[in-house]
């Protein structure tokens, strides 16, 4: 059971890594990237191929990240000048093209993918393996979230949010919107590539059907749920992934009476419904931290409060505009 929980946590953290990149692209720069999973896949395949050629694991991981970043550069050049909804279509098209090519080119193993991917910690027993991986992923997520937090609060982050809110104004002030957007795409894709390499190493094999657009939409729900803050995105993605992945095994526990692929359909139903409801009612996300802040302010501003006892006049500021 603890092995299962550790695996669940590892999966959720992998999605969290994806969320970090996607959150930077959408929550901060306003880029609608529906093809994010493709870079996860590129990282996984690059790692697997690197491993097959005998590269040391760390080098193969970096290769995965680098490959993803480079290809995202190409995609960015072709598409970032388009407006938001066209960008979404192009990135989606790109991800699908990538998956189809992967499924068919024999060099990448075709529909059966690549097996025998070298696994870090592979020499340990199942339980230790799962806990080691959970530790590794936790460390990696924090190690990336930290600098990301700094980046987001830096002038770079401010420019990104300005681009999200008003591209024309940013261009008028002399900043190259295209360059900032490209950099954001590359950073997000590099992280996704790293996550892909880690995933390949953890699971030991990769198949093209693991890299479908639906995965990107899972992460999307996580980000929308959590709002555009980094902590929110991580929390939201962790929660949604744990929910979705955790319910895979409800049938085994005898709770549900549906057949296995019907459970998969129900899960998809929930995902679709959540997206619709979130866009309709909570486009800026559930924003757990904002709720805490407003609760705190409410407490401080009760009758009888004076500035001396801590009354504040500021209301929680929206850190992201409602989805435009």
């Amino acid at each position: 059971m603890s092995t299962y929980l550790a695996s669940l946590g590892t999966t959720a953290l992998l999605y969290c890594l994806l969320a970090l990149g996607l959150n930077l692209q959408w929550g901060h720069a306003g880029l609608l990237n529906f093809g994010h999973i493709a870079f996860f896949g590129i990282g996984a395949y690059a790692f697997a191929l690197g491993g097959q050629f005998g590269m040391p694991l760390i080098a193969a991981l970096l290769l995965g990240s680098f490959a993803a970043a480079t290809i995202s550069l190409v995609l960015g050049f072709a598409s970032l000048r388009l407006r938001t909804d066209y960008l979404a279509v192009v990135t989606l098209a790109f991800a699908e093209a990538f998956r189809i090519i992967l499924s068919n080119v024999p060099w990448f193993g075709g529909p059966n993918g690549i097996t025998g991917v070298p696994r870090l910690f592979g020499e340990f027993d199942a339980q230790t393996f799962s806990w080691l991986w959970l530790a590794l992923l936790s460390f990696t997520t924090l190690a990336i979230a930290g600098p990301m937090l700094v980046l987001v609060r830096s002038p770079f982050g401010r420019v990104l949010r300005a681009i999200r809110d008003d591209e024309v104004a940013v261009a008028g002030l002399g900043r190259s919107v295209f360059r900032f957007e490209t950099l954001t795409l590359v950073i997000g894709s590099a992280i996704a590539g790293l996550a892909g390499g880690l995933y390949a190493s953890w699971v030991g094999y990769i198949v093209p059907s693991q890299f479908v657009p639906m995965q990107t939409f899972y992460v999307w729900i996580g980000i929308i749920l959590g709002g555009s803050s980094i902590g929110g995105a991580l929390l939201g993605t962790f929660a949604i992934t744990a929910l979705l992945e955790g319910t895979r095994f409800l049938k085994d526990v005898g709770v549900i009476v549906l057949a296995a692929d019907q459970v998969a359909s129900v899960r998809l139903l929930v995902v679709g419904a959540m997206l619709i409801l979130l866009v309709r009612f909570k486009p800026a996300g559930l924003r757990p931290f904002d709720e805490l802040r407003s609760a705190r302010n409410w407490l401080r501003n009760q009758p009888g409060a004076t500035v001396a006892n801590g009354a504040t006049s500021d209301r929680p500021r929206a850190s992201v505009k409602a989805v435009q």
Binding site: L32, F34, A78, S79, L82, R83, T84, D85, Y86, A88, V89, V90, A93, F94, E96, A97, I100, I101, N104, M214, F217, W220, I224, D261, Q262, A264, S265, V266, R267, L268, L269, V271, G272, A273, M274, L275, I276, L278, V279, R280, P283, A322, V323, Q324
Partner: protein, 285 residues
């Protein structure tokens, strides 16, 4: 070569039919509807269901088209009407949710096995030059042409068509002139649903039916609409036919499994060089 041209023409007509629905919704409602593909799937499955209930083929087709239109209107009312005014991106994301939801419903109700209409196998037509044309493909092609002609006459000659065009051109001015935006939108979604239902039925005539048929067609429809210019009716039709022919011709050079990739490459190239589409007025996208 001639075979590829003819097959491509039929395929292109189907793509054009489906893309027409997409482009109508974009023109009048101003967003890209990702759930369009799942309505195609429903079209095919509705027809399957009616056939299963014992309807004659022609009756099943008509019923399927009607149900698709109704479903499309329901989707508009329940999901997208509350989102009026929130912008193209919100609607796009919501439409992705709608796509996932609708496809899940298809999977739940009808399962994931491959189905077919179970129609009797008919002789293929032989045309000059050794070109083979399956009978059902001819039906599909004729249906597509009729559908497009129907839309053309509707848009051009009826007051409903005029109100749709007015709302597409300038919603506020249309409303000031007394055109009911609400009615125009309902009509647009209904017509789009009907077109797509017909497209789904044609797909079913063309090949096997799985819950993914709509998704596979969706990307080609996107490509066609983008090539022709989103919102541009004739451009989209031309784009669809061009795309169908191009994709078939491409199979002469590369493996047939890469056909969808062709559509995607077309999207990328067109958006890179002329994002407003080949047939649209030059404008910034």
């Amino acid at each position: 070569m001639e075979q590829a041209l003819v097959s491509g023409l039929i395929g292109g007509l189907l793509i054009a039919l489906v893309a027409l629905g997409l482009t109508l919704v974009f023109a009048v409602n101003r967003f890209i509807n990702a759930s369009h593909g799942s309505l195609i799937t429903f079209g095919a499955y509705f027809c399957l269901a009616f056939l299963g209930m014992g309807f004659e083929m022609w009756a099943a087709v008509v019923a399927a088209i009607l149900c698709s239109a109704l479903l499309s209107i329901a989707v508009r009312k329940i999901i997208f009407e509350p989102l009026d005014g929130t912008g193209a991106v919100s609607c796009l994301v919501a439409s992705v949710g709608a796509m996932i939801l609708l496809e899940a419903v298809v999977g739940l109700v009808w399962g994931y096995e491959i189905r077919s209409f179970g129609l009797p196998v008919r002789q293929n037509f032989q045309i000059a030059g050794g070109v083979v044309l399956p009978v059902y493909d001819i039906f599909a092609g004729i249906a597509a042409i009729l559908g497009m002609l129907g839309v053309w006459s509707l848009l051009g000659s009826t007051s409903l068509g005029r109100s749709m065009r007015a709302v597409a051109d300038n919603p506020m001015l249309a409303e000031l002139s007394g055109v009911s935006r609400h009615r125009a939108l309902l009509a647009t979604w209904g017509i789009s649903g009907a077109l797509v239902g017909l497209g789904g039925v044609s797909l079913g005539l063309h090949g096997p039916i799985t819950p993914l048929v709509g998704w596979n067609m969706l990307l080609a429809a996107f490509a066609a609409a983008i090539v022709g210019g989103l919102g541009n009716v004739w451009g989209t039709i031309a784009g669809g036919i061009l795309l169908g022919v191009a994709m078939e011709l491409a199979t002469l050079l590369i493996d047939a499994t890469y056909k969808p990739v062709g559509a995607l490459v077309v999207i990328l190239i067109v958006l890179l060089i002329r994002p407003q589409g080949l047939f649209a007025r030059a404008e910034r996208i």
